[in-house]
């Protein structure tokens, strides 16, 4: 039995229905424990003050924002190559979540930037490329909304996602070239030297895991809704045919 079987809407509905409660539970546990740990049991950093706690939302949201586009890229490719409907619907379901994650990263970043850099917004390359990523999400969502026929929309947004991924990366490099910024480098590197202290690190990991599960749960729910809607549409059209 191949993995592609789950791309069949019926199989997908059955399996996802069974898995969903566990994913939700995992998300809740990770998020709750990570947040509580991070917010109440971690000392304030000497040079960051209390505002460091934004990190528990900011960093996971930022990571999700990037990775969701990656996930959409993969599912779009699967749709374009193998024409599995569930795949396209998953991409569609993920996009608004990605947009919201980008927005959360931007807003928490802005909230953080005020005490840290003394400004709400700076044209730092990383911040800027997030703004551009947000635009890509908006365009992607708008295209889905504008095209009536669902399969056409899936194809078009799939192509847009592919080309968009290339240009999003290109924009990142262009922005880097254009302005060397203020923002931190990657802190999650495995290199222990660069790493932030463990006290911050473990709750952060929990939060990231929580965001991932949360995202999976949301995508499953939204994909299931989309499938139901498609089924409903098919039924209505059938009625007219009769």
């Amino acid at each position: 039995m191949s993995i592609w079987e789950y791309a069949n809407p019926v199989k997908f509905m059955r399996l996802s229905g069974r898995v969903l409660p566990y994913v939700i539970a995992l998300a809740a546990i990770c998020l709750l424990s990570g947040m509580v740990w991070g917010y109440f049991f971690v000392p304030n950093a000497e040079n960051f003050g209390g505002s460091v706690k934004v990190i528990y939302v900011h960093v996971p949201a930022a990571m999700m924002a990037i990775n969701i586009w990656g996930m959409m890229l993969v599912t779009s490719l699967i749709w374009l190559i193998r024409r599995h409907h569930v795949s396209a619907l998953a991409a569609r379901a993920a996009a608004p979540i990605g947009a919201v994650m980008t927005l959360i990263a931007l807003i928490t970043g802005a909230v953080w930037g005020e005490p840290m850099w003394g400004t709400w917004w700076e044209w730092d390359p990383r911040l800027t490329s997030f703004l551009i990523l947000f635009l890509f999400y908006l365009g992607y969502i708008a295209l889905w909304a504008a095209v009536e026929d669902p399969d056409t929309a899936a194809d078009l947004t799939g192509v847009l996602c592919l080309v968009g991924a290339v240009f999003a990366v290109l924009s990142r490099y262009a922005a880097n070239f254009w302005n060397q910024g203020l923002h931190q480098g990657a802190t999650l590197s495995l290199d222990k030297q660069k790493h932030i202290a463990d006290v911050y690190w473990f709750p952060l990991l929990l939060c990231i895991a929580g965001f991932v599960f949360f995202f999976v749960a949301l995508v499953l729910i939204r994909t299931r809704t989309e499938i139901r809607l498609r089924r409903l549409g098919a039924l209505q059209q059938r009625e007219r045919m009769a």
Binding site: P9, V10, H85, D151, A234, Q237, R238, M241, A242
Partner: protein, 215 residues
């Protein structure tokens, strides 16, 4: 008209869809060179959809078509006429795209010589229609697909058009048209599409990807 004599169109068990929904299924017919077939059926049965599918403008749900879209010329209501170009310029463009002969013969065949230098937006509905049909002649393709070709044409022009079709058939071409009125062609057969109306999947029709989801 360089029609390959063996290139009769054969359609087998074709199913066509519009808006993601099967409209016709199990359509089978053959169209020999020199023959014309008139699609009949009430509004909304799927004539336009069938013609577009055969012309390669939309994919079929199922079934086989023996002839590639490259030998089919399709003409619908909107005929790719540019309002600001003159009649001759419009035709000349399509002739160039299809790499075919000069345009004077098609112009005279559709009785458009006197209008040749008029911009297309100053034509009346019927004159525009004649220009659209003249475009068929410059494609040089053997199989014509015509969606309500005689709309807006007066009786003289209908007769003119019937002669052009007859010529085309005489040269080994063939034609498939959807129309509600009678053209008076001698070598034409009718094909009623009503029996091919798609049934609901429960009744044995073609089922979509989402048909079983909640059952």
């Amino acid at each position: 008209m360089a029609a390959d004599p063996a290139s009769g169109l054969r359609v087998e068990n074709l199913a066509v869809a519009r808006g993601g929904l099967a409209v016709l299924e199990g359509v089978s017919f053959a169209l020999a060179p020199g023959e014309a077939l008139v699609l009949r059926g009430p509004n909304g049965i799927g004539k336009t959809t069938l013609l577009r599918t055969l012309a390669g403008l939309q994919p079929a749900l199922a079934g086989e078509v023996s002839v590639p879209p490259e030998s089919i010329a399709y003409a619908a209501h909107s005929d790719g006429i540019k309002a600001t170009l003159s009649v001759a310029e419009n035709l000349r463009f399509w002739a160039a795209v299809h790499g075919t002969r000069d345009i004077s013969e098609p112009l005279s065949q559709m009785n458009l010589e006197t209008l040749a230098e008029r911009p297309a937006n100053s034509l009346s509905a019927g004159q525009k229609r004649r220009l659209g049909l003249a475009r068929l002649l410059v494609t040089g393709r053997p199989i014509w697909m015509l969606d309500e070709p005689t709309v807006s044409l007066d009786t003289d022009s209908v007769a003119l058009f019937a002669r052009v079709i007859a010529d085309h058939l005489g040269q080994g071409g063939s034609a498939l048209m959807a129309t509600h009125i009678d053209l008076g062609l001698v070598s034409s057969r009718d094909l009623d599409l009503t029996p091919y109306k798609a049934r609901a999947p429960e009744a044995g029709g073609i089922s979509g990807a989402f048909d079983e989801v909640l059952s």
